[in-house]
């Protein structure tokens, strides 16, 4: 590890259960500044739950979570979060600019309208995701891919040190998916990025490490990803995979897969 890297996310011994069933078990995870990490795993495996625990939106049943060295509730404003786009009410009357401006809530004066600076920052972020011309369009009139990019722009408008993205490329065709990953790679030069992704094969061309979530959490450097590991995450029995290269701080055992 280069010495200038700082620990941004530190999760120790975390369990999370909901209505009596264990969703996450014995999770340890470290994310350093500058990382570009993808969280992968099957549906219902706990990916989004892990993201929400990092953000402090969910409290772990056991264990500790540190974000920027303190409690997530105190440091959450330094995170730019992009939720899954499918959760929105598409009849909600907002323009693209209205949505991106929500990213400025913590920076703005608090009461009254947004400042000129806020608007300028938001236009720059829209420029970055190539949607500046759509600023006045209705959010509901956009395509799925455009909405994803608006939500990325909103997360960037927070001027975050860490970007957390929940399935930024779900339901997109290959071309747009590529474009979004390429944009994220550019952004990664200055921002740490953690994203949830359902497809492992494709994303591993871009990220440095892959965090596998299926109740337990295991971390692999991208170079290790092979067919065996993919099988293990999404289907066949776990004993096929050997995790001997994982160092203790970054990975757990995989017995429960």
């Amino acid at each position: 590890m280069p010495s200038e890297q700082v620990e941004i996310i530190r999760i120790r011994d975390v369990d999370f259960s909901y209505n009596g069933s264990l969703i996450l078990e014995d999770v340890d995870l470290n994310i350093q500044s500058g990382d570009f990490v993808s969280i992968v795993g099957p549906n219902g495996g706990g990916k989004t739950t892990l993201l929400k625990i990092i953000l402090g939106l969910l409290k772990p049943t056991r264990g500790t979570v540190e974000l920027f060295g303190s409690n997530p509730s105190r440091s959450k404003k330094r995170v730019g979060y992009m939720p899954q786009h499918a959760k929105f009410d598409f009849h909600f009357p907002v323009s693209v600019m209205d949505v991106v401006l929500m990213g400025r809530l913590a920076q703005s004066r608090g009461i009254g309208p947004y400042s000129r600076l806020d608007k300028q920052v938001c236009l720059e972020k829209l420029e970055l995701v190539k949607l500046r011309n759509e600023a006045r369009s209705s959010f509901s009139s956009l395509s799925g891919g455009q909405r994803q990019r608006v939500l990325i722009a909103r997360a960037l408008a927070c001027e975050p040190a860490l970007l957390l993205l929940d399935e930024p490329t779900s339901n997109l065709d290959m071309g747009i998916e590529n474009e979004i990953y390429e944009l994220l790679r550019q952004l990664n030069k200055s921002i740490t990025i953690v994203m949830v992704s359902h497809d492992l094969g494709y994303v591993s061309r871009y990220v440095q490490r892959v965090v596998c979530v299926k109740k337990r959490v295991v971390t692999h450097p991208t170079s290790e990803i092979n067919g065996e590991i993919i099988n293990a995450i999404y289907g066949t029995p776990m004993k096929m995979v050997r995790h001997d290269q994982c160092d203790s701080g970054r990975a757990g055992s995989c017995i429960n897969f």
Binding site: K77, V79, F88, P93, V94, D98, G103, F139, R154
Partner: protein
């Protein structure tokens, strides 16, 4: 129309009625769009019906202690705020039983009101006025109350528009930006409660949700910006309530019901218009 305008100059009760319509429209035009986009009209319906409990209690105690009478609207405002608080806390913390609790509050509030009014000695036709509206009975004191209501609601929404918009659109994101979403949600319900009290004076408990939501629903067919929808639904509200008053005057039909029929009819027409015009544009494209 001509008769109405002549009488408007000479009768104070008509002036009060028109003024009340305008004052209530400003509050409901601003709050209605929130209720529509946040999809809480069922909660607003429950709040409005519990109001009868408060009104009934005040009428009952006013007859028992005639030396210190208070305006029944104070009772309405108190119960509306109380039930908004209870309903808000239930919907924030007990998601599974939310609709049951809200439905129960709805009926319990009404039941309380009916019991109080039944036990009030003497003349009790006021009940019908509160259920179906009696805008021609608006007093000067009511008008002062409505002014306070407008100042509170317009002030709060103007200062915290961005926050309310963000909380309604994406609660989770708003909370990550450091907003206390429980406080904003409860304030929104409290403002809805106060607006409902104003609306009760114009169209009554049973019909007030229609006047709260229909103008906003019409406006949202034609705009994708919340503040424009607020402006439009305020204007529509003024239009519906004042023309309801005017049109009902000569034939002597209830103004509240006339107002609701106007609003409902316009909503249906707007839906048809929207459907036809979007269908037309599809045809042109092909």
């Amino acid at each position: 129309m001509h008769q109405f305008l002549t009488d408007l100059r000479s009768y104070e009760f008509l002036q009060n009625a028109l003024l009340a319509s305008i004052l209530v429209s400003s509050a409901s035009g601003v709050i209605g769009p929130f209720v529509v986009v946040r999809r809480i009209s069922y909660l607003a319906g429950s709040i409005s019906h519990t109001v009868l409990g408060g009104i009934g209690a005040v009428i009952f105690f006013n007859t028992l202690y005639p030396q210190n009478r208070i305006d029944p609207l104070w009772g309405a405002a108190f119960t509306a705020l109380l039930s908004a608080l209870i309903i808000g806390l239930v919907s924030l913390h007990a998601k599974q039983r939310e609709d049951t609790v809200i439905g129960a509050m709805w009926a319990i509030g009404m039941a309380l009101g009916i019991v109080f009014i039944a036990k009030t000695p003497g003349y009790t036709s006021d009940l019908m006025g509160y259920l179906f509206g009696n805008i021609l009975m608006v007093t000067e004191q009511d008008l002062y109350l409505l002014v306070i209501l407008d100042i509170l609601i317009l002030g709060a929404v103007m200062l915290f528009y961005n926050q309310f918009l963000a909380v309604c659109f994406d609660e989770e994101f708003a909370s990550l930006r450091g907003l206390n979403i429980d406080i904003y949600y409860l304030s929104l319900l409290a403002m809805t409660a106060l607006t409902v009290v104003g609306l009760v004076t114009v169209v009554g408990i049973v019909m007030c949700i229609a006047l709260l939501t229909l103008p906003a629903a019409i406006a949202s067919l034609f705009s994708n910006s919340l503040w424009k929808i607020m402006l439009m639904s305020t204007l529509l509200s003024v239009l519906f309530t004042s023309s309801g008053l005017i049109m009902s005057y000569l034939p002597d039909i209830p103004p509240g019901a006339t107002t609701i029929l106007l609003a409902g009819g316009t909503y249906l027409l707007a839906l048809v218009f929207k459907k036809v015009s979007s269908h037309g544009s599809i045809l042109r494209r092909h």
